[in-house]
């Protein structure tokens, strides 16, 4: 699904990330941890071709990320659901329309998938807020809306960047529960977080592999997290 081989990324001569070797197998669950500024977000961006490695190779669904053209990147993104910490929405659209946005841009008839859409909105607990505008949502509601938008296309891979960064512990657990449920449905999940308590909570629910990013290098985290 995602295969990094000695991948590196940097803005200047000095790479921020180097020697990245990572393989995300279908149906696997991963946590990416590390201190702030370690490059977790950059690594996620490499996974969905927002950034291109400056060295090494990254394969996304079998395609070399460095050679992907714009249209191919767009098609790849339709197979990857991304949830950011500062989830961005189109503020002039309702929550429902924002969640349906991937269907709209893919040319699918959102009205024909109304039932699925309603089910998904209910699943993330936003049925009562579906017609609200994104600025009216709380932090937790925004995260759930972003998660719903990320999975509406039934993606193979879900990338979440600090999804619990702006929410309280109960909401963090709720989001984690949603992500673990998705993993049970066969989705591959990679969560970047520095919240070790969340990782411990997750390990009680799913078999998760924990990776640590430090000094620009990726390694397996200690077993006693």
């Amino acid at each position: 699904m995602i295969d990094m081989q000695d991948a590196a990324y940097g803005y200047g001569a000095e790479p921020i990330l180097s020697g990245l070797n990572l393989r995300l197998a279908p149906g696997s669950f991963h946590f990416l941890t590390g201190p702030s500024g370690a490059g977790k977000t950059t690594l996620l961006k490499l996974c969905y071709a927002e950034l291109v490695p400056t060295a090494g190779r990254i394969s996304i669904f079998g395609e070399d990320a460095a050679t992907l053209q714009r249209d191919a990147i767009a098609l790849t993104r339709q197979r990857i659901g991304v949830v950011h910490q500062d989830c961005e929405f189109l503020d002039h659209l309702s929550v429902r329309e924002n969640i349906a946005l991937p269907l709209t841009v893919a040319g699918r008839d959102a009205a024909a998938q109304e039932a699925n859409l309603n089910e998904l909105i209910a699943w993330v607990g936003l049925a009562a807020r579906a017609d609200a505008r994104p600025p009216e949502l709380s932090g937790g509601e925004r995260q759930r809306a972003a998660l719903a938008r990320a999975i509406i296309m039934d993606p193979d891979l879900i990338l979440a960047d600090e999804p619990t960064g702006n929410v309280d512990w109960d909401m963090s657990l709720r989001l984690l529960q949603l992500l673990t449920e998705l993993n049970r449905m066969g989705k591959t999940v990679l969560i970047a977080t520095h919240d070790l308590a969340l990782i411990r909570a997750a390990k009680a629910q799913v078999q998760a592999r924990v990776l640590r990013l430090s000094g620009g290098r990726l390694s397996a985290a200690a077993a006693d997290l």
Binding site: E50, L51, R70, D71, A74, L75, T76, R77, Q78, V82, E88, F89, L90, H92, L93, E97, L101, P102, T104, V105, A106, A110, R149, M153
Partner: protein, 300 residues
Amino acid sequence: MSVAADILGLLKGEAQADRVVPRSGQAAKLTLAVSGAMAFLAVFALALSLAAGRLADRWSDALAQSSTIRLSAPAAEMEAQTWTVLTVLEQTPGVDSARALGDEEQRALLEPWFGPDLPIGDLPVPRLIEIIETPEGYDADGLRQRLAAEAPGAVLDDHTRWRRPLVDAADRLRLLGWLSLVLILGSTAAMITLAAQAALASNEQVIRVLRLVGARDSYIARAFVRRFTRRALTGAAVGALLGTVAVALLPSAAEEGAFLTGLGFRGAGWLWPLAIPVLAAVTAFWSTRIAAFRTLKGLR
């Protein structure tokens, strides 16, 4: 994505897709206002160009088929010389008919300068002979040589001397009218390009979100192209309508064909302003499309 798909999308509209770009914004108002103003000006440039063309054609047609011989001779020889000139003209290929103007006609011609009671018989006024040409025309140089030999007092005026500058001026005016239209279209394209670039820049977050959820650049570009093309079409339609009404309210053409009173459209010419909104829409389509793809290419 092909241009055909863009045009098809434009015609049938994509309600869902159209909503992804926010409606408000200065760029939208600017496009509407610029298109309207430019269309208004374009109607006048068009009216000017068409009127100048009509004037040039009218002067050419009216004067090209006729010419005049001015015969100066002592009173005793005037009749004989007139007869000689008419005989020469009868024998000249390309002359359809020729006739000497009577005293009344000559008095009428001079009346604006000398008043109605001019004793024309007492004055050494040259005799005027009107020539109507065949469509093929005659050899003016050959005729001049024959007249010089047989009636030395006869001077041929085929109107070329003063007709050509008038026709040239009218033709130049027509050209300037069309050039103005091209400049108006160019300015419209430049303004819409700037407005589209401003809209794209101010919607960077929208573009980022759309790309994140898998939108192709052609999809994003189309959303902007549709928006700007429709605005340009609407603005230009209003501007062209107002311009056409303004032209229609100009004083009607005088019988003498004075230029300023003949500035409006004639007959099927009233359909020309309909082309202006279409041209504005085509201009907006291409300028927004080029601006959108260029801007999107610059955004990773």
